[in-house]
């Protein structure tokens, strides 16, 4: 399990495909976190100082880079979808897969605290999917994704979509080894989300504004939301879409399929 994470214990984490028997992370004896630091010791009086100089999230970062290398080697484009719960991540994913599965080979990693519900929705589209149930944890980490991707064994030249746990705070600190992070914000949320949760927007490459079909009924100001997001991250690429009606989805598909 992720050595940095205390909010879930390994016994709670399940990684499974629809119709599968669950694999508990604790059953897998993966020696992913080798330690190669060489500490230096100094002695002062009766005290000994050990210089550690180690990032607290180093174990996650190292495995994330290994995932990134795996994707690079197989020419796979991997994206990490993040948002608050209820922004329409899974609906957006379903629509994207349904409209593009004939053009490109897709694989999906679903992250949720509990249930196989999301994986079942993706499975219904005949897309290979692995569900990660994080148990008590509030985010996916690179170790979980590593195991899920090994289980999926994606073909070269494909796209791997990783749907993170719905949470705008914790997942921002955990690199999964993705090629792009996509943050989704919906019009039913506040347009100041980007500055309320700046870390997530600062670390993302793309921002999708979803549920634009509901704009006439809401006070959400699209331009204001974009301006806030640009304050945190001037390089963000925006797509304004409705995953329900399909409005604006083509621009998003164009971007997604242009990535190699």
């Amino acid at each position: 399990m992720c050595t940095t994470c205390g909010c879930g214990v390994a016994d709670d984490i399940k990684i499974q495909m629809p119709g599968d028997l669950a694999t508990m992370v604790s059953d897998l004896n993966i020696e992913a976190h080798h330690d190669h630091t060489h500490s230096h010791h100094h002695h002062h009086d009766d005290r000994t100082i050990i210089d550690v100089e180690q990032d607290i999230l180093q174990a996650n970062q190292l495995l994330a880079e290994r995932n990134r290398g795996y994707f690079l080697g197989k020419n796979i484009f991997a994206i990490n979808l993040v948002s608050s719960p209820g922004s329409g991540k899974t609906t957006l994913l379903e629509k994207t897969l349904a409209d593009n599965k004939d053009k490109k080979k897709f694989y999906v990693v679903e992250g949720d605290q509990q249930t196989m519900n999301d994986a079942d929705r993706i499975d219904a589209l005949h897309i290979p999917v692995v569900q990660i149930n994080t148990g008590k944890a509030c985010h996916l980490d690179s170790d979980m994704v590593n195991q899920a991707v090994i289980k999926l064994n994606p073909e070269p030249d494909s796209i791997v979509m990783i749907e993170n746990v719905g949470n705008l705070v914790c997942p921002s600190a955990f690199d999964l080894g993705e090629n792009a992070r996509v943050v989704i914000v919906s019009t039913t949320e506040g347009d100041d989300k980007p500055i309320k949760y700046p870390d997530m927007f600062a670390g993302s490459d793309v921002c999708i504004i979803n549920k634009i079909d509901l704009l006439p009924y809401l006070n959400f100001d699209v331009e204001k939301a974009k301006a806030y997001a640009r304050q945190v991250n001037p390089n963000l690429i925006f797509f304004e879409v409705s995953a329900t009606t399909g409005e604006g989805m083509n621009e998003w598909y164009e971007w997604l399929l242009s990535k190699k």
């Binding site: 050595t3 940095t4 994470c5 205390g6 909010c7 330690d35 500490s39 010791h41 005290r47 000994t48 100082i49 050990i50 210089d51 550690v52 100089e53 180690q54 990032d55 607290i56 999230l57 174990a59 509030c138 985010h139 705070v169 914790c170 921002s172 600190a173 500055i195 700046p198 870390d199 600062a202 806030y228 640009r230 304050q231 945190v232 001037p234």
Partner: protein, 112 residues
């Protein structure tokens, strides 16, 4: 954020180092935390006793060294202190910046 996770990560690093150094107890730990790392010091302090219980850090003194966030403006080159990710350059008002310090979350050293 997830300060209990962070604290558990620190414990994991300390346990590994203690084993290497063949000591059962750590007297003090020095941490470097950037002001833009996302770690709330108060939450970390709150989570600390639970995280270190029955570990080599149980009796250790925790010393946190805050590292102030600094950025360089990518438009005019001005070097400035920042408090929020959305702060602008005080000289030219640009949002384009390279935050080169302040995101640290590091175990600096252990005293045994």
């Amino acid at each position: 954020m997830h300060e209990l996770s962070i604290a558990m990560g620190i414990v994991a690093i300390a346990e590994k180092e203690a084993k290497k150094a063949n000591v059962a107890e750590i007297k003090a730990i020095d941490l470097e935390i950037g002001t833009l790392s996302g770690v709330e010091i108060e939450s970390l302090n709150f989570a600390w006793p639970m995280a270190v219980a029955n570990s080599v850090l149980e009796k250790a003194e925790k010393r946190i060294h805050l590292i102030k966030a600094k950025a360089k403006c990518m438009d005019c080159g001005f070097d400035y202190n920042i408090e929020n990710l959305f702060d602008t350059c005080p000289k030219c008002g640009s949002y384009f910046k390279d935050i080169y310090q302040g995101k640290e979350m590091r175990v600096k050293s252990l005293e045994v």
